[in-house]
Every structure is written in C-alpha cells, then in structure tokens.
C-alpha cells in the first residue's frame, strides 16, 4: 500500500521486489490463501518457478493474451523435477486487481498517505504511554510493533485474549 507513496524500488536498481498482497482486497480466511507479489528485473535469473502472460495480436490483428513463459520443473524436467506446483492464487490476484482498479491511481496514493499519517499519530500516542519504547526513529510503514516488555505489559498480554484483544508477537522476546 505504501508503494503508492514511496518511489518504486525499481527506480533504485533493485533486482527483485517482493511484497504481500493480502491488504489488496483479500480477507484473512483462516490464514490463507493469499497472493504475494514478486517482480524481477529482466536479466536477473529466475530463482523460482513461475509463469508469464503477455498481450499479443493474432493473425487477424485482434488483441489476445497468452502464457508466454513457464519455468515449471514439472514440465521441463518431468520425472526429475524436485518441485511441483499445484495450487493457484489467481482468484486472490483477481481480488487484488479489482481492489486496485476500485482505488484507482489517485486512491492508492491517498490511502498510502492516510496510512502513513495514522501510523505517525499512533506512534506518537504510543510513545507517550509509560513503559512503551520506540524501537527506532526511522520513518516507518504502517506495520508498527510496540516494543513494550515491562511486567505490566506481560500481564496485560496474558489477560488480553479474555478481553477480546489479541496483541501481536512480542518483539521483546527476540
């Protein structure tokens, strides 16, 4: 989501960009399935099996879409393949593209800005709470984890599920 606000990683010469697609119109659904995104710069060797679709014209000049590249071991190496892809996240990808189309080019920027503003606000409010310490002062994307590991917060963590709250993974434990 923050990619609507940040300069794209490809601008910096990054070879591979990865990310999660769950915020893009996908529900939790018992922990999955979700779609992930992976963009590879042309020329960087593919570290994984995958497929490509391209737009092309047929003999009569009509627009069409085709699978142009399939680096799937089960096709190429057959019985010597060490991987076999059977599941598809196409439906999740469809949810993502419907969501992105619904947002539009301006919407993705607006939602990115909104999330960054709210993150900054939440950070400020949390830092004011006694026993909560910020891990760093860097600009952060919306995934903020409070680092509280005081006895109070540990007690609170144990009691929380009974009160309908489920705090995230305690970073203090690492």
């Amino acid at each position: 989501m923050t990619l609507g606000v940040l300069r794209p990683p490809g601008d910096f010469g990054v070879d591979i960009a990865v990310g999660g697609g769950q915020p893009l119109g996908n529900r939790l659904d018992y922990g999955g399935p979700v779609v992930r995104l992976l963009r590879r710069t042309a020329g960087v060797p593919a570290p994984h099996p995958g497929r490509h679709r391209r737009r092309d014209d047929d003999a009569d000049g009509r627009r069409g879409f085709v699978l142009t590249l399939q680096t799937r071991e089960q096709h190429i190496r057959r019985e010597r393949a060490t991987s076999n892809i059977t599941t598809a996240q196409t439906l999740n990808a469809l949810a993502a593209i419907v969501y992105l189309s619904w947002l539009g080019r301006r919407g993705i920027v607006e939602i990115g800005e909104l999330m960054l503003q709210r993150t900054a606000y939440a950070r400020k409010a949390l830092a004011a709470v006694e026993g909560v310490e910020l891990l760093h002062e860097q600009p952060a994307d919306p995934r903020v984890s409070p680092s509280a590991s005081t006895p109070t917060s540990r007690r609170d963590r144990i009691a929380a599920p009974n009160e309908g709250r489920h705090p995230g993974y305690p970073l203090g434990a690492d």
Binding site: V14, I16, V18, L38, V98, H166
Partner: protein, 191 residues
Amino acid sequence: VYAHLRELASRNVSTDDELSFLGAGMYDHYVPAIVDSIISRSEFLTPYTPYQPEVSQGTLQLMFEYQTAISELTGPARLERDALRGPERARRRRLPRLPAPQAHALPDLARRAPARRETLRDDERGLGHRGPGVPLRDGVTDADALPRRSATTSRPSSSRSRTSSAPVEDLEALVPRVKECGAIAVARATR
C-alpha cells in the same frame, strides 16, 4: 444437523468480534463489496489452468492486468505471481541465492517472523551456513556492515529482509553497496 453445526460454528471467534494483531503481516483490512461480487462469478471462481488461450482469455487478461499493476507499483520491468506461500516461499526465494558456504551476508534471521525464521534456519544449517547476518543500526540495515567483495570468496549473497518494525529503508544508498558486494538486491514491501 444444521442447528448442531451452526452451534459449533458459533463457538468460533472472528475479527468481526474481537481485535486481533496476530496476523504477522496479515490483518483485517477493508474489502469493498465489488471485490466479492466480481470474484464470485463462476467463470473466475472455477477456471482451469489457462493452457488453451482460445478459451482462457478472461483468466489470462486478469493476470496480465495484475502483472501490469504490480509492475507499475514496484518500478519498471517484469513481474511474476508467486506460486508459493508463507515459509516455503521465503525458503525458495532465499535458497537460490545462497552461495558457497564461506560467503555469508544473509539478513539477520532475528528479524523474520518466527515460522519463517525456523524454515530458513533449517536450510542454512543443511547448507553449512553460519553467520550473523547484516545487523541493524537505529532500526535500519547497517550499510557499513555489508561485506566487501574479496578475491578469495565466491559471490557473496546478501539481501534485505523485513525487519519486525518495518522501517522505510534508504534504497538509494543501500542498493549500490549491495551490488558492490556482487549480490542481488531484493526489496520488500511489507504492506
């Protein structure tokens, strides 16, 4: 039977009832109604692999549109939909870049989610990898701690990894340093 099953189902608690931050990257986001109304159409809900383009134009076009949108968000060039999930995906993405055992500039495992950390640690043990990974300084990757390219080591592999606290990294400064090591630069958008 229906009443019994409904009673069993009603014992479940969902994110509609309670507040959860347990997702480790997956959370309860707003999903506009248009998403369900389109993805529940049978031609999208029950398609087979689009091997025959003459009967698969819709499926192929939606994936093409997806490739294009993500490609625009992440920068120029190509994109692939990842067919793997979770810890397995983390392993596949990392494994091919693992070089000979003497080179180590792997991201600090302490920064990965617990399930992924275990998967990656197992792989590294099997491959004889040791090394603390690139440490953080003030919450972001310490560029000065990246290894120098050396004539005696094989191609070092180094990659960026999501830190648990998800800071925005200064790619402009980091990417040239990573490439200096002869490694592939991988950026990750956590949200």
